[in-house]
């Protein structure tokens, strides 16, 4: 899992991009803590062929990316 909580954009997207480029995983979980990161990671994931499910938790959001 990528824990991008506390990071502001574009760092969460960059962390996901790095992982996708390095290993192109079939599925990936990303934890972020702001709506802006949710939107940006989601957009990036979709543009790279992933479906994204967002689970809102107490203070953060868990994004599940699946190919």
């Amino acid at each position: 899992m990528i824990d991008a909580t506390g990071y502001s954009c574009p760092t969460p997207v960059l962390m996901v991009q790095k992982e996708v480029k390095a290993r192109s995983p079939k599925s990936l979980e990303v934890l972020v803590d702001n709506q802006c990161a949710v939107e940006n990671v989601t957009r990036f994931a979709r543009n790279n062929g992933y479906a994204v499910a967002v689970t809102e938790r107490e203070d953060d959001f868990l994004l599940k990316l699946e190919k």
Binding site: S8, C9, P10, T11, L14, N34, Q35, R46, V54
Partner: protein, 370 residues
């Protein structure tokens, strides 16, 4: 505990994804035109750096008499963002990501902006007004952003922010609101106020705060950012933000043409601008580079501060401090041109940006993975 799960919808059209950004760009451009008509300075209907500089003057942090006024636009942007964030349940007190560095970077961004004479927003407003010096500034701005991106790709970041109390997030917007209320209830005599020069040219306070509220609310909703536009286009091939950037130019240009204020593109005789090409370029390079490291342009910092991000509040305070330095030590340019002190400051700022970029790109551990 999980509250809800949602599967994101299928891809929508480009316009469907970006209409809000385009609307924000239009509104920002329209606000610049209207506020200029109502009294704000030429090609400065809406400028974050200039207005924060005026606030620094109003607070007596510098004593440049022509640029002192507690600009309601700044208050409006922060409060508009706060209200929108509250309505959308996105307000969260958070902070603690390298506050001292952010303060310093904010100051550098302001120093660069005042050598050029404008923030990224005023830069595009100047382009829309026919000022070719701002095109030179734009090239420098892009060069600065590209420098910052080199380090972002190497892993640069300012570290994590942490959850704070809502009071921490409300402190900055609350202080601005208090100062504004002091102003409108007639206690503005507390603050310094220009009798001549750009600081004396002002739209009525109610129009200024209304424009700020609208821009702040919409920019919070759309994540409008002048630096993010170039960054996202280069890094992620996403062109929504940069289209909003273009929309500001188009709106201002059209507005000026309709109002018969547009007299063609030129370098000479532009309002509150100078034609020192090299320093226009390098000044905006500092702004672009510094803003990329900070994660957003000066407008975006105000919006984030409204959302409860005290790191951004500290950045804004750093910018106000940078404005004070600029005018106290003659770093800021004027219509007559840039200054020798300003040249030294810009070179120094570029050196500091390089140092900070290098240290935080390569001295990091493998943070972020669990």
């Amino acid at each position: 505990m999980a509250k809800k799960t949602k599967q994101t919808p299928e891809k929508t059209s480009w316009l469907g994804q970006n209409w809000l950004l385009l609307l924000t760009g239009f509104l920002v451009g329209a606000a610049a035109i209207v506020l200029n008509l109502l009294g704000n300075p030429g090609n400065m209907g809406f400028c974050i750096a200039c207005f924060e500089r005026d606030i620094a003057g109003a607070l007596g942090l510098h004593s440049a008499a022509p640029v002192q006024y507690f600009r309601p636009e700044i208050v409006g942007i922060v409060l508009g963002s706060l209200l929108m964030a509250l309505a959308r349940k996105e307000f969260r007190g958070k902070g603690g990501s390298a506050p001292a560095l952010r303060f310093g970077l904010g100051a550098l961004v302001m120093i660069g902006a005042l050598v050029f004479l404008g923030c990224p927003l005023r830069m595009v407003i100047r382009i829309g007004g026919g000022d070719l010096n701002a095109v030179v500034g734009l090239l420098g701005f892009i060069a600065g952003i590209l420098m910052g991106l080199v380090f972002l790709k190497k892993g640069f970041n300012l570290g994590r922010a942490y959850k704070q109390s809502p009071l921490e997030g409300l402190a900055f917007p609350g202080a601005l609101l208090l100062a504004f209320l002091l102003c409108v209830t007639g206690l503005c005599g507390l603050f310094r106020s220009s009798a001549a020069g750009p600081g004396s040219l002002r739209a009525p306070w109610y129009a200024a705060i209304l424009a700020g509220l609208l821009v702040g609310a919409l920019a919070q909703r759309s994540r409008f950012c002048m630096v993010g536009g170039v960054r996202d286009a280069v890094m992620f091939r996403e062109f929504g933000l940069i289209s909003a950037f273009g929309m500001v130019i188009l709106t201002v240009l059209l507005g000026n043409v309709i109002l018969k204020k547009f007299t063609g593109f030129s370098f000479a005789g532009q309002p509150v601008a100078h034609s020192d090409g090299l320093w226009n370029f390098l000044g905006m390079s500092v702004v672009g580079w510094g803003s990329v490291l900070l994660g957003g342009c000066p407008l975006r910092q105000l919006v984030l501060a409204g959302e409860g991000n005290s790191d951004s509040a500290v950045t804004v305070l750093g910018m106000i401090f940078g404005a004070a330095l600029s005018h106290n030590f003659k770093l800021a340019s004027s219509g007559d041109g840039s200054t020798p002190n300003g040249h030294i400051a810009v070179i120094g700022a570029l050196a500091i940006l390089l140092l900070v970029s290098l240290v935080l790109s390569f001295a990091k551990g493998k943070e972020g993975k669990k």
